[in-house]
Amino acid sequence: MTSQGSSEPRASPYFWYRLMGRDEEGYDVYELFIGPQHPASGHMRIIVRLDGDIIVDAEPDIGYVHRTMEKLAEGREYIKNIPLFERATIIDAANITWGYVRAVEQLLGLEAPPRAEYLRTLLAEINRIASHLYGFGIAGIMLNHSTMFMWAFGDREVWVQLAEDLTGARLTHSYIIPGGVRRNLPQDFREKALKAIRYMEKRLQDYERIFVKNPVIIARYVDVGVIKADEAKRLGIVGPNLRAAGVRYDARIAEKYGAYPELEFEIPVREEGDAMARLLVRIEEIRQSMSIIKQILDKIPDGPIFHEKYYRMLPPKLKEFVESTGRLKLPGAFIRLKPEPGEAVARVEMGHGEVFYHIVSDGSIKPYRVRVITPAFRNVVLYRYLTRGARFMDLPAIYGSIDYFPPEGDR
């Protein structure tokens, strides 16, 4: 015992509190570092301060998987940034690259042909379903519901396969490129997609029985992590988390990009703003995405999948190959895309929410600056606001319900 220690009365009633730690303001708290080495933290750390079983404060400490993507983008040609950015959200690669491509197209003054826009929308919705299923599975395992975890991840495979049929790659599709898409629709895609939709509709009912209407899940999710509409707007929350708080905002409607203006779909909105509402919004979005896919398969126009300006650059032999196989070969000049000096911004609605790109071009073959604000980065603040005053065991429930994806937040 130091002299400092012995000057205080030893039998102080706060002995146990002191033993458990106390924060700077003198608040008696138990500080817990959850992550980055923790079974349920993901690639991040949450610093939790507990008063008994009540969370006083939960601080998300992100950045463990920061890959300097914005800086890397400054050193690569425009087209090479697509495989880079899709690695931010590998589970939703089409949507996160679409935002970048839209901004680059604005700089280049390009517009993709209608068929390409439909194909982009098709892959975006397939990715949205896969992304929601991924979040669904994580939400399940966060409550130790391993069946939901396995089912959602297993059924996600259906959509990953579908994306592979369309693009040739399971996750890193690099499908959406400035001026169009990389591949045409395969012959048998329609049947496969309709089969997947039929299967998923059946599975969603199974999910409802085992998870959504499970009394334990209801006890864990209803009135947990509530955020109201004005608070959500103030914090700049995006995506299903925002819509579950009662704000009808979706970049697909706000921006009118892709084939969305020509398709009919609803934006599911709920008023409750709790974890259950976030879950139900995601389930409804899966249903809406499936309806969009059906409409696309019916409505998709014929025509080229790549902008004429660059298609013309292909040598005749390659053109023949593209015509016969539906697989685009990029012209050599494509690597040296050189937009005019200027700036462009683009928004796209991902599975997790709205992604925002701001590209500055100095007229060279590489972007001068690429700023990307991902939905996960905007939603991470929810950890702090939703957990305050909640029970400690609500932390994983809230984590699962906001569908945070650390690599996306860290970029």
Binding site: Y30, E31, L32, I34, H38, P39, A40, D53, G140, I141, M142, L143, N144, H145, S146, T147, M148, M150, W151, G154, I210, F211, N214, V216, I217, A219, R220, R391, F392, M393, D394, L395, P396
Partner: protein, 340 residues
Amino acid sequence: MTTGTIGRIVDFVLSPHIFAPLIYPGLLAATLVLLTLIWAERKMTAKVQLRYGPLYVLKPLGGAIQLIADAIKFMFQEPIMPRNADKWVFALAPVAMMAFTIIPFAFIPAAPGFVGVDVEYSLPLVLSLSALIPPLILATSWAANNKFTLLGGVREAFMMVAYEVSLFIAAFAVASYYGTLSLSKIVEAQSVPGIILNPIAAGVFFVTMLMTASKLPYDIVEGEQEIVAGPFTEYSGILYMLVMGASYMELYVLSLVFVELFLGGWKPVIPALASIHPAFEGISLFIKAYLVLLFAVFLRSVYARYRLDQALEIGWKKLFPLALLSVIWSLALLLVAGGA
């Protein structure tokens, strides 16, 4: 002379007070239960979750000896002891935990007239022996000197007071109907299974049993998503095997008690098996207990985890009044039927 010595040893081993705790239904049978039950649990869960489960260790039998492979792995793994841990408590508590799950087998009757040590108060004795485990879990959580283990220990303390009371009352509700605290007499007196006579007590006993062994939806103490492995976070190697095995052993002990209280115990007796050893006459007890165990672990693929305060609410506000009600139910039955 040697045959005489060996014969005496064999007789000694086959005598009830050694055979019951160490071979059947005790340690050896319990180990068998442990090895097969965890495998069956994983296989069942895998079936529900559309995957294979254990597969590669002895492929023709669907990975049936996976758990043996796991056990060998744990045996040879270095048991790491945290530098700041209270080393003696840390190392000995799991051993004591395992011991307290094995001792009850000496008092659980396995067949008519076959019990290791025949005491008049075997029911409260078995229950109180298994009630010694939560304090040991608290000891491990304190000894490991880790924030997660401490939280797990606090959870265990909360849960313990919530389930233990209802568990005892539900068991005594049955005992009060039969007018005896001896498990063998309760089984003998059961002409109608206890679950039909007193379904409330059976329900309460089963749910508290899940809480005791921290099985889903009450695996709060080991809540992986918040506190890694609760009180067992720092354990590795053979010590980890002991603490994990202890919860399954406890579940096995309690399901034996459950079968004896509510499912008619060893009835129907199979006399043919008595020629092997008198204990095997009551093999029905083992089979029924195994089915109860399978049902208990199957819940894992259906439920998620309750929150601590919700589980405490269930324990105090639902199970406790129900347990009291089951006592009244038993007394009312006594009044109506005029005794068993």
